[in-house]
Symmetry: C2
Subunit: 211 residues, 2 copies
DNA sequence: ACCTGAACACCGTTCAAGT
DNA sequence: ACCTGAACACCGTTCAAGT
């Protein structure tokens, strides 16, 4: 039943399965059964599991570039770069462990890479040299990836150690001699706010490079 | 022969194996045979594979904090934070896929977390509020993690597609309509230099938050 | 062209048994 | 206390065979 397996349906089901059960449970057999077929059936549409993972990455990155290209160029480079960072973060957040799994992966689709062109145009148009524009995108990407990896690790830490991040338990676990660490833990606010603040710092640094 | 397997020897051998053969080849059986014992022997010293991976993370992070505490406080916060970033990067670089594997992981040793205390002291002493100091360390950590993930992915891309990153092939693969992307690719310099430049941007942004 | 059934080599883990 | 041998359930992948 529900036949007509296609490459796209496989990728979509794989992303669903990843969100439901996590990376360890993303197995060829579980994926196949979710699609109502036997495991070997998938090998007709996909060379091997690695190719499936690559396809998933490409799908996610294509969503990123689609979302990015829907952003109308705004008043200045600062808002544009901020929007870039926010979109990248929110697309990573859609998928369990998205930043760790889908960052720094090679792309099997040239269009994904070519989407960078528009952003280099905007930034060089705003007064950045090409090298600076390239650095800018790299830097913001690196920050977002690192930020969301931490964020997702903390969020869905699931399973083994549920209240490692409960403040009281954490304070006790830290013991003596870490008063600032404890106090900082209690100050720690919402992920969105921390992201905006830290993104602001990066943008300030970039602004300092412009005439 | 060569008995006397201990927890530390297991972790060290696991890190060696990771560097030699990569994450996929880091299997309990391969690790055991490298230590001259059968696979079940490891389960006397370690509860399961996840605990082994946690122990590896803790080991790596302890090296980071050791390296960090050997840095004498310098003239100003800027050099201190720069040194923090450089040490974190170089320790990640010691291990294949180090940034992806060892970032954002939970720590099984309170001392590793407590090492943060010294850095919060330095930064608050330099005029940052506690919240700003916490943001500062988070931001630099996030940047380094994201940067090194990309760097290591590119570096040892090994296996399947060896010259995806050869410039000529890449230009051809990109096709038409991505002239800035191509030009930026040719401008791209050494990883150390890109790291220092981008770290400098982050530090400039942090400086803008100080009185 | 697309899928199944059976099989292969390998994996993490357990457990009785040895020393 | 520490390790082995044999076994279990599961994994990715292949391949002949079905339709």
């Amino acid at each position: 039943m529900a036949k007509g397996i296609t490459r796209e349906r496989i990728v979509a089901a794989a992303l669903d399965l990843l969100n439901d059960k996590g990376m360890d449970a993303l197995t060829v057999r579980a994926l196949a059964s979710r699609l109502g077929v036997g495991a070997p059936a998938l090998y007709w549409h996909v060379r091997n599991k690695q190719e499936l993972l690559d396809e998933m990455s490409t799908f996610v990155m294509r969503r990123v570039t689609d979302a990015l290209s829907e952003i109308a160029p705004s008043a200045g480079w600062r808002d544009d770069v901020a929007a870039y960072g926010r979109v990248l973060r929110s697309e990573y957040l859609r998928h369990r462990d998205g930043a760790r799994i889908f960052s720094g992966t090679r792309f099997s689709d040239p269009d994904v890479v070519k989407a960078k062109e528009r952003w280099l145009e905007r930034l060089t148009g705003a007064g950045f040299s090409l090298a600076e524009a390239d650095d800018t995108l790299d830097l913001v990407t690196a920050f977002v990836v690192g930020f969301v990896i931490e964020e997702q690790e903390r969020g869905q830490s699931g399973g083994g150690d549920p209240d490692r991040y409960s403040l009281a338990e954490r304070d006790a676990w830290l013991g003596e001699g870490a008063e600032l660490v404890k106090a900082a833990g209690h100050l720690r606010d919402d992920g969105d706010q921390r992201f905006e603040r830290q993104l602001g710092v990066v943008l300030d640094g970039l602004a300092a490079r412009l005439p």
